[in-house]
């Protein structure tokens, strides 16, 4: 089965996604789309449900309610044709300490369906692009936090995915790394038509790269922000405080269905 072309519909389409962690609703009826060639940013305070939402989109968690489709295919049914087009970086960056960065990137490529020779070539390119060449043949366990993040990004990008799902990708990166990442995401998205869903705490960073910004709070989507508008931080906190004041969370949560 071939996934739908990214140009014929949203690459990511989620509807009513809901997940409970015990008595807490971690994600509450979230609807979201990401289309080809756009960078869609998710912002929210810690615990807003951004990572949990991303995990559901990647098949790492099964929703209690709602649906998520990638390239038109339900996530639960997605096979190699879909996953070969998806790159992700969530929580701990991919990378085994006993392998070299080059070996890790080759392994990531191969686990996404790239053959051995192409994996070697593309891994070499990614190591260069993420300026990891100096450490390419050393054990990955010696890498600094920032370079581990670069390695994780290399592993997410090496198989040239059409969809990128990145959770806090600037974690640990130095200012140069942040600039490089910004360039990579913009060129892949606006240049190559890759769909990007990215979460971030850094509102100024989001303002630089995002085409759309969705704000999450307590598992809900509470609104969208215009990345081009002024004083993004002020508008974000206004939205969060209003939601907090008007939201249903002062009442006990309804019981889990």
């Amino acid at each position: 089965m071939t996934p739908a072309s990214p140009t014929t519909g949203p690459v990511v389409a989620a509807q009513g996604l809901t997940l409970w962690f015990g008595a807490d609703k971690a994600v509450d009826g979230v609807a979201l789309t990401v289309v080809s060639g756009e960078i869609h940013a998710l912002v929210g305070l810690n615990g807003a449900g951004k990572t949990t939402l991303m995990k559901m989109l990647l098949g790492m968690l099964r929703p209690d309610a709602g649906t998520a489709r990638l390239f038109g295919e339900p996530v639960g049914d997605a096979g190699p044709e879909v996953w070969s087009q998806v790159g992700h970086l969530l929580e701990t960056p991919f990378g085994y300490g006993e392998l070299t960065p080059t070996e890790n990137v080759i392994a990531a490529a191969r686990l996404h369906g790239v053959d051995v020779s192409a994996a070697r070539r593309q891994a070499g390119e990614m190591i260069g692009e993420l300026t990891l060449g100096r450490w390419a043949d050393r054990r990955s366990r010696v890498l600094s936090l920032g370079n581990r993040q670069r390695l994780g990004l290399a592993c997410a990008l090496v198989h040239r995915p059409r969809l990128l799902i990145l959770d806090e990708p600037t974690n640990g990166l130095d200012p140069m790394g942040v600039l490089e990442l910004r360039g990579m995401l913009l060129s892949r998205s606006h240049g190559d038509g890759v769909a990007v869903l990215v979460s971030s705490h850094h509102l100024d960073e989001v303002a630089w790269i995002a085409d759309r910004i969705t704000v999450m709070h307590r598992g809900l989507v509470i609104g969208n922000l215009d990345p081009a508008g002024v004083d993004l931080e002020h508008r974000f906190f206004d939205m969060v405080y209003t939601a907090e004041k008007e939201g249903p969370w002062t009442q006990p949560s309804p019981p889990r269905p």
Binding site: M60, P80, W83, G95, Y96, L99, R110, L111
Partner: protein
């Protein structure tokens, strides 16, 4: 080579846990048993000499290989158990498991690849241990291998392999409990349970005790009670553990 097997093989080859465990069996067992045999052959009435002599199930090289087999069964269970626990549990402890989701290679296949490399690891460890033991026997002056010695070496290999296979279900504990330490705890429980069940006289039908009893760890009378049926109980136990683990990985969520 299959992408999952190639990746898992590389990870295991580079792993200090796997390397140390392999060397501990391959060098430790022949060295320890050679020292015991030398003590027994030296005679005397020291406690070590008396205990070592009691472990000898025969004379010459075949007798030495009998001791090797008994120690190998324990060593293979413990080291294969620890390396298996690490191989599966480290993905959760190191947080690398997220990278195994949303990949073209299914998680069931990744778990199966882990079993393939663990089986190769344990087979090579067991074979190298028996080979080095044969060499150590020659150095002890026990003479060249005869029919009895070859038979004893074959039994060592078989019993060591069975014990390694019995360690593989620990992968399920490491996976379901998301870490290697719970699996190491389960391994310790198995070792203790084996001791108790053997002491109660029911070891022949307890898969984790049968291979060592077959090699004479409980004396010749106990060894005579062990037949192929008891030894082959390994297959359903190991098979069920492998099946449960791959099924778990197939359904796993990243909670």
């Amino acid at each position: 080579m299959d992408a999952a097997i190639a990746t898992e093989a590389l990870k295991l080859r580079r792993s200090p846990v796997a390397r140390t465990g392999w060397l501990a069996v391959v060098l430790g067992v022949p060295a320890l048993t050679a020292a015991l045999t030398a003590a027994a052959r030296a005679g005397g009435d020291s406690q070590l000499a008396v205990k070592a002599a009691a472990m000898l199930t025969g004379t010459g090289l075949a007798g030495y290989l009998g001791i090797v087999g008994q120690v190998t069964t324990v060593a293979m269970l413990v080291t294969t158990g620890i390396v298996t626990a690490w191989c599966f549990g480290r993905e959760f402890v190191d947080g690398t498991v997220a990278g195994l989701f949303a990949a073209t290679v299914s998680r069931r296949r990744i778990a199966a690849a882990k079993f393939v490399v663990m089986i190769l690891w344990s087979l090579t460890a067991c074979a190298a241990t028996v080979l080095l033991a044969l060499l150590a026997g020659a150095l002890l002056g026990l003479g060249p291998p005869t029919g009895d010695a070859w038979r004893a070496a074959g039994m060592d290999l078989a019993a060591g392999t069975l014990m390694a296979a019995l360690a593989l279900p620990l992968a399920w504990v490491a996976s379901a409990r998301r870490g290697y330490l719970p699996a190491v705890a389960a391994l310790l429980l198995i070792v203790v349970a084996t001791q108790i069940i053997t002491a109660l006289g029911a070891g022949g039908w307890f898969p984790y005790a049968a291979p060592a009893l077959w090699l004479g760890m409980g004396g010749p009378e106990a060894a005579a009670t062990i037949g192929p049926t008891q030894l082959l109980l390994t297959i359903p136990v190991s098979g069920a553990g492998i099946w449960a683990t791959t099924a778990w990985w197939n359904r796993a969520q990243l909670t």
